[in-house]
């Protein structure tokens, strides 16, 4: 019972940590991997990405104002959406072919 009382902060900490690790990984991939964006294209690409992501994130505080389980359900749904999206991330073979262009 005592453990369950502490569960929400601990689980929330785990949730934040998991999201932050993924975010840092995507950031690193976009900034560092020449096969995703070569040096010449990187600045343009990253700025487009930041523009889109910041625009869509405007909705986050509004979702936060909704009834209690909805924001967390949205987090879970977006996490599932990301899992589906990551399937389309180029494999190593596809990434290698990009360097030959």
């Amino acid at each position: 019972m005592q453990l369950l009382q502490w569960s929400i902060p601990i689980i929330l900490f785990m949730l934040c940590l998991a999201i932050q690790v993924g975010f840092t990984g995507v950031f690193q991939s976009a900034f560092e991997d020449d096969r995703v964006f070569p040096f010449n294209k990187r600045a343009t690409a990253i700025n487009i990405i930041i523009l889109v992501s910041k625009t869509l994130t405007i909705a986050a505080p509004f979702i936060n104002e909704l009834e209690e389980p909805i924001p967390v359900i949205v987090i879970g749904s977006v996490a599932i959406f990301i899992l589906i999206l990551i399937i389309f991330y180029p494999s190593k073979a596809q990434l290698d072919s990009m360097t030959k262009v």
Binding site: I11, G22, G76
Partner: protein
């Protein structure tokens, strides 16, 4: 409740936006862009204008670019310079090739998803009712720890598996929180 009193901040913001908008018309087109489009004369004029703004009196626009010379040589040899096309359409910095457009779309969606979840989870943490500074420090710790985890796991797993693992943890955590909020698990 999030404050919506941002009027004065937005006025200051608007001032800078208008300034940048007007300024855009006062500057010449980027010489690099003109060069990438084979508009060498305009590129030289742009460079001349920039040199003038920088009070550089030693600059002379009486020169030819390497690519300009190459294209002229091609034409002299009987080739049509217009048929010599680069894969990126000559726009070296633009996202013009299909594979990079797809990468930008994919990365934009991934960034948006993570950014959205990050802020939403952050706002949820505020409902814990703890002191705001404790939440700030906790967030700082999360950033440090996540950086270290990423440093360890990213080179070994690659982005794909890293995201699969962390999102599985995120989904499990979200499910657990929902079950507690809905009193399915109670204490």
């Amino acid at each position: 409740m999030i404050s919506k009193s941002v009027r004065y901040l937005e006025v200051a913001h608007l001032f800078f936006v208008i300034y940048l908008f007007i300024q855009a018309f006062m500057f010449p087109e980027s010489p690099r862009f003109n060069y990438s489009k084979n508009r060498f004369k305009e590129a030289r004029e742009g460079l001349k204008a920039i040199a003038k703004m920088n009070s550089n009196n030693n600059f002379s626009a009486d020169f030819k670019f390497d690519t300009e010379k190459e294209l002229e040589d091609l034409e002299n040899e009987g080739f049509d310079a217009k048929t010599v096309r680069r894969l990126d359409g000559g726009n070296e910095y633009g996202i013009t090739m299909k594979q990079y457009v797809l990468n930008v779309i994919l990365m934009s969606l991934l960034f948006s998803g993570f950014s959205f979840c990050f802020w939403l989870a952050d706002f949820q943490a505020e409902y814990l009712g703890t002191d705001m500074y404790i939440i700030f420090y906790a967030n700082g710790c999360i950033c440090f720890v996540s950086g270290a985890i990423n440093l360890l796991l990213y080179p070994k797993l690659g982005l794909k598996w890293l995201v699969v693992i962390v999102q599985s943890i995120a989904i499990t955590s979200a499910l657990f929180i929902v079950l507690i909020q809905e009193r399915v698990i109670s204490y």
